[in-house]
């Protein structure tokens, strides 16, 4: 009987350890898989202002900032990683940070900090 199988599985799960972990993530944070594309990190001092990232970004999340630097709008970003791949000096990186909830939009603007 299918119901029997379901019941058995449910009981097993009930008695075993859950597969998920509680949130907020204390004490331990789960390890992200290799190559995970999370929050954007921008090293504006290394950036040479070639604007290649702005060209390749499919979602238009990159815009020109003052003094030939760029600003990333994480709210529009789709985390495709194109910008990080094309940057000739490695100034853009997609980190393993996945908790990106914010109450303020300015948290989603990653740009130069003069």
């Amino acid at each position: 009987m299918k119901i029997g199988v379901m019941l058995r599985d449910a009981l097993r799960r009930l008695l075993g350890r859950p597969l998920t972990i509680g949130y907020p993530l204390k004490p331990e944070r789960p390890a992200t898989p290799r190559g995970y594309r999370g929050m954007i990190a921008y090293d504006w001092e290394t950036c040479i202002g070639c604007m290649l990232c702005l060209k390749v970004c499919p979602s238009g999340a990159v815009s020109v900032a003052d003094r030939r630097k760029v600003t990333f709008d994480v709210g529009r970003c789709i985390f495709c990683g194109q910008c990080a791949e094309i940057c000739p000096v490695g100034a853009v990186r997609l980190t393993s940070e996945f908790e990106m909830v914010a109450v303020d939009r300015s948290a989603y603007r990653v740009g130069p900090r003069w």
């Binding site: 019941l7 599985d9 009981l11 075993g16």
Partner: protein, 312 residues
């Protein structure tokens, strides 16, 4: 007058216990699915959140019905549950209170559905038509099994006499007689339909009617409908516990035991099926309820009539 006061005083208790059951339900359900699940107090947080939101009333809604039905529905459910609780604690004799509880709990489901359907949303209308047929099909066997308990208690329709009988006999009707056990079985088979959980959740099926009559409700309205639903679920379980599984003890202890039993009944008949079973079609719900629990309930009624020695 005292009855009114007692009922009003025990309504918060019933609400509290129903919400605790809902927390237990959500936690157990999550664990059976391999999730950590929300904290036990999540239903309370949910209510606080919902009550702090704005009311939204659609253009197409029939305003008075849409706006006040949730409140009425919640009050009916609370009154029904509180009445059972009061009788359990005080042993108050009230002629016909079994029917009154039944009436209040049915009105609660009905009002919530009608209120939702008056939003003008077609999904809510479909949900109402489904809900009415399901309601009619499972209330019949439920009522029949309640009648079995009433016949056991010498043909009265007062919950207190059924409880008194069990206290005298030294055990629950379901544990002492075949008729009672069958009646409890029929009652429990109807519980998933009462709780609107799989396999009988055709009224509020997300993937079919997009939450059905709940579709246009949000904020305080939704909170009230949720209260109504949670309380009537738990009160039905409490009714089953006090009608069929009453354990004789001193009144406060007996009421506690009944609450505990109600919790177990609700877990068995709402949480477990809700987790492991899939949804059936509306026509299958009606057919099932009108065949399996109804025939069991009729059988139990016949057996108890024989045991009682005629239509006394």
């Amino acid at each position: 007058m005292e009855l009114h006061l007692a009922t009003a005083a025990s309504a918060p208790i019933v609400l509290l216990v129903s919400l605790v059951y809902e927390g237990v339900d959500r936690k157990l359900r999550a664990r059976m699915q391999g999730r950590v699940g929300p904290p036990l107090l999540q239903p309370f947080y949910d209510l606080v959140k919902l009550f702090s939101k704005d009311r939204i009333i659609p253009f197409t809604a029939a305003y008075p019905l849409f706006n006040y039905a949730p409140l009425l529905s919640a009050s009916c459910a609370l009154a029904g549950g509180a009445l059972v609780f009061v009788v359990l604690v005080t042993g108050l004799q009230l002629a016909g209170d079994l029917l009154l509880v039944f009436y209040l709990l049915s009105s609660s489901s009905l009002l919530a559905m009608v209120g939702g359907a008056s939003s003008g949303n077609p999904y809510a209308a479909i949900s109402l038509s489904r809900g009415l047929s399901v309601l009619l099909s499972y209330k019949l066997p439920m009522l029949l099994s309640v009648l079995t308990a009433a016949i056991k208690a010498g043909g009265t329709l007062s919950l207190a006499s059924v409880i008194a009988l069990q206290a005298e006999a030294g055990g629950g009707i379901a544990t002492l007689s075949l008729g009672g056990a069958l009646a409890l079985l029929a009652f429990m088979l109807c519980m998933p339909a009462e709780g609107e959980v799989p396999p009988f959740d055709v009224t509020t099926a997300k993937t079919e009617v997009v939450h059905g009559f709940l579709i246009e409700y949000g904020g305080p309205h939704l909170a009230l409908v949720k209260i109504a639903k949670g309380v009537s679920r738990f009160s039905t379980a409490l009714l089953a516990a006090s009608l069929f599984l009453y354990t004789p003890a001193r009144p406060p202890l007996a009421a506690m035991l009944c609450l505990l039993e109600a919790m177990c009944i609700a877990v068995l008949t709402i949480t477990v099926p809700g987790t492991v079973l899939g949804r059936v079609k509306p026509s299958q719900v009606v057919r099932f309820c009108l065949v399996a629990p109804t025939s069991i309930a009729i059988l139990s009624l016949a057996i108890s009539l024989l045991e009682a020695g005629g239509l006394a």
